[in-house]
Amino acid sequence: MVKLNKNKSKILSKNLFPVVGVGASAGGLEAFKKMVKAIPENSGIAYILVQHLHPDHNSALPEILQRETRIPVSEISDNVKVEPDHVYVIPSNKMLVATDGILQLSPRPSKDKKNMPIDIFFTSLAEVHQSDAIGIVLSGNGTDGTLGLKNIKDHGGITFAEDLDSAAYDSMPQNAIKAGVVDFILSPENMPKQLMQLNSTFKILPSEEDAMPVKLTEEESFKQIFSLLRLAYGVDFTYYKQSTIRRRILRRMIICKLEKIADYLLLVKQSKPEQDTLFQDILIPVTSFFRDPKIFENICKRVLPELLENKTSFNPLRIWVAGCSVGKEAYSIAMCIYEYLSDKISTVRIQIFATDISEKSIAKARLCIYNKGEMEGVSEERIREFFTKTNGSYQVKKVIRDMCVFATHNFLKDPPFAKIDLISCRNVLIYLEPFLQKKAFTVFDYALNPKGYLWLGKSETTGYSSEYFLPVGKKDKIFTRKSFPGKFMNVASERREETLRDKDYALRIPERKRDDVQKDADDILLSKYTPPGVIVNAQFDIVQFRGSTGDFLEPSPGKASLNVLKMARNGLSFELRNALQKSKTTKETFIKENIAVNNGKTIVAIEVIPLLDAVEPHFLILFKNSSPAVNKTGNKTSKSLLLKESPENTRNKQLAKDLLQAHEDMRSISEEQEVANEELQSANEELLSGSEELQSLNEELETSKEELESTNEELITVNQELFERNEQFNQARLYAEAIVSTIHEPLLVVNHDFKIKSANKSFYKDFQLTEEETLGKVLFDLQNNGWNIPGLRSQLFRIQNKDEKFIEWEVAYNFPLAGMRSICFNAQPIQNENDQNLILLAYNDITSRREVEKLEKRNSDNLKIILGKIPQITSTASRDGSVTYFNQFFLDYSGMTFDEAITWGWEKIIKPENLQEVKKTWDHSIETGEDFSMEILFKRKSDGMYRWHLSRAIAILDDEGKVTSWVRAAVDIHDQKTKEQAKDEFIAIASHELKTPLTTAKAYIQLLEMDMKKTNDKDLNFAQKAGASIERLDDLIGELMDVSKIQNGKLELNVTSFDFNTMISDAVESVQCLSPDHQILITGEIKEPVKGDKERIKQVAINLLSNAVKYSPKSKKVLVDIGQKNGVITVAVKDTGIGIRKESLEKIFERYYREEQRAVHFQGLGIGLFISYEIIQRHSGKLWAQSVPGKGSTFYFTIPVTQ
């Protein structure tokens, strides 16, 4: 029970479970018992039984049925909800009808109305449960249930009928089977099994029943596929041309590589995509633009003008394209209309309804984008006019697109459009059985306007429904609607379909065994002794004449009609109408006697018998002649014989005899003629059926043709793809070959016994071999066994035995011609198209690389040794300044280990007072990339002494000029530095000591001079000269001291604010007084006071001026120009002396440098310019010179106005 509940809840949650309606009448209880017995406990289906019962009879059905099954059986009351796994019985006095979509009990109609409870119930069931409804007709008499089953089928439900063998009373199931509304014909006990199978398609999760494989016959499998499709898409393929559809299913099976239809059924059940594909496939979407262009022309020429004659914007032209596929047909028609109307298009409203079952096709049609292949049939002009090209595809322009309305629509099921002027339904009907074709024609007939046109496919005709349509042009397959009143929608089945269906489905309609003799006898009796009569349908049109009815019926004048009321002879018509009406309403036989016909000449009795077995009510009318006409004529003749017995009489007699003879002759002739006629008739019928067969064959062929077309299209596509692949493959092959032949590495392919199959150019070139020497030879035997490379054979064996997939193997080998080579072999197995195992061998000559590597290694070893041994501190640093390497010398000096020293460890041995400045300077270099040069005190481990080192670092730049690393070296300059200090100290002391006596000497000479001046001594001149010499000596000593101070960085500036002009004129004056012969001219003026060391700047000016004077022995003019610009003062001292050679220009500011030329001819220490240069530099200024040898020099210096 637990399981049951679970199952139930599952189904309820889906809110979907099949409801089986069972209709039964006489003998039905027995059949239903059998069926109920076979119903499994958890089928998930609800069963509702409708039994023909007397309304007053108190039914004990539930009790009786409950004995047969464990499923609860109950009588339906209003409160009972229909649940799965229950059997319900409808109370005898009630009916089950659908009200607002819910099944409800309603009182049974009064007795006098005809009771068709099964039909009513089935119809309600179909409305409420739609495709979940299942109808079963069991044993019973009458036609009840047939209409109901039809309704269930129309709503997508499934229908069953009891097979005629097992049914106690077979007319109810037989009627249903005849009407073609039954899906399965089974015995009652087999029905539940089938129901279960169907039900499994409803369920998402498979139940235990599904796990048990059920053997299905092929037929059943096909049917199940159809029912699946019906459930999924609402399209019933049962009456589509079976041969076509089965071919399509088989085609899908082949594609899916399934052999059994049952397997395919399983696939379709499980896979929704497969359902989609199958559905699409069955629909065969073959279409093209302007299919059958000639017919299109005719349509344009003949049909359109006529249709458009009275069309206005209020009265639109309506066209229906049924089965439009991807819309090409609809667009083609739209284009035709557009072309026909051209500029008048706006005056008429055009509506083209294009419908198809397939949503996919409709979606594509709506998109209206077609690729180039699909554009076949459209002329260039039309493409230009009606399409826009986008991304290589063609899109239908809006004007055309707007004329068409697309909808998913099944014209066999959905309500049709109305007031249509032209229906195009081409190559759709060929897929349908005549039954559905007929249905289609009724639909089209309904949809079309009077004088509307129907346009069919090449091999389609209105065939069975020619009563509706008249061909306009047979070749064009255009038909007009016949317009005659009183037509009705004929959907009921006819005999012809039955036979066809019997043929196609092999439905098991039991063959009635006939006793031929009995039948013949019946025929004779019928023809000789039955009263003449006719069978008419509900519209009273004569369906069949029986016997001679000439006395009672005659063709009516005017339009030919078979209506019995029109054909009835004078006086009979009225009575017939009455009789028929009465019989129709009462559904009972009606007899009327003593009717005077032909102005009372004949007395006739008529009997109208309703034939209720058929789906359509028919009536049999029997005529009985109550007045014996033979007697009358006999009397007349005897009378005349008695009256006149004359020669005339004799002649008359003779004439009468002749006449009789003639009559006799005529009769026999006319009989013969009739026989012939009958033969012709039957021949005609044969021809007709033959033509029908041909027609169906033709349709079949057309279908096959379309199928072939679609297959062909597929094949073309596949072929094209294959072709493209092939092309690609070829290109790839050529590409690969080109690579192989141009590749630098020698390549070789050997086969299984190491014979060379192919080799590339590089191989021949590198090893100096030719093709003849190589191909087909064993690899190791090449060049007189010169290729027997040790180890290669074993490596190749490993490849061959598939021990290795890839080998990279290096060897140095002395090749016969190529000499000593280092080769890296790459070997890997390859397979050629014949599945031969080959080995691809690539030679990578790495000889030169190896040599370079060796050389590099040696170099780097050497370098390391050099660096290690170099008697200087050497190190490298990374870009950020952290040290990456120290040589052994440093480690020995510092006593640090390598690891301690690198990065920033080395800073520990810098004298702490020194460290900050070192860091600052080093950071500056790292930041700017400028060379680093600094004197640093490093502590020596051995004696703990800080020793001066000149440390320098130079940045290593990459190609872009970025610093990659630093190389640093530090030289121990401690001893030199100490010595220099001593020297400087010495110079300082020496110059001081020299000045002391000089001071005394100068003072005494001055005193002497003063005295001599007073006395006017003649030797005063000497004293003055001595004074000048002492002055000069003083200057020289001063210069020496300055140099020494500059050397020690002890040159200090005494910065004050002073008047530059005065300073310059002072300088000029002091030089002037020493060489009064020269003319020194000052130009320019500095307006603001200048900051700097006045004395030092003056010293510079004097130095430059005295140089100018000194080196201009002949020319006596010296120019001094001072100027100010942008806060910078420029002083130019120009002479016209001997000048300076170009190569000396840069050196003249170096310490102790004396230009050769000058040194020879002029006195001086050669340190004046050096001192000047240093002074100006200390003032953040510049000192430089320009000169033309022999013409003079100009010395410039600049200083900023404020320091």
Binding site: T996, T999, T1000
Partner: protein, 133 residues
């Protein structure tokens, strides 16, 4: 009354020539070869102006000047630094002397410097005296 000049220099020749020049110009001249006892020297000689060599044994001219300047008894006496050193101007400023004289010097300039310095000192003193009163 003759103004008294106290000259410190380690070179007797210089002392001699200075004495000759300045005595010629009516100054009383006292000379010393060492500067260590500057305070005592001053108290003994009572100079109106001092001429101090920079490099003089044993404590050096600058120290001697400092000693004198830090002594309230002696700090009013004008002092002129007197050296062959090229940076004499800077040193003189540092030592806060009343003037300096670069060796070798011009005879006239020596006299001028001393005369001018004494003149300035006299003005300063009289001004200071006026302010006191």
């Amino acid at each position: 009354m003759k103004k008294c000049i106290l000259i410190y220099d380690d070179d007797p020749a210089i002392l001699m020539v200075c004495k000759i020049i300045l005595e010629k110009n009516k100054y009383k001249v006292e000379t010393r070869l060492f500067c260590d006892n500057i305070i005592q020297d001053i108290s003994k000689v009572m100079p109106d102006i001092i001429l101090m060599d920079l490099w003089i044994p044993t404590i050096g001219g600058e120290n001697a000047i400092n000693l004198m300047k830090n002594n309230s008894e002696t700090n009013h006496i004008p002092i002129i630094l007197f050296s062959a050193n090229a940076e004499i101007g800077i040193i003189a400023e540092r030592a806060n002397t009343d003037g300096f004289l670069k060796k070798p010097f011009d005879v006239n300039y020596l006299v001028e410097t001393i005369t001018n310095t004494l003149q300035k000192t006299k003005l300063k003193i009289s001004r200071a005296a006026r302010q006191v009163h």
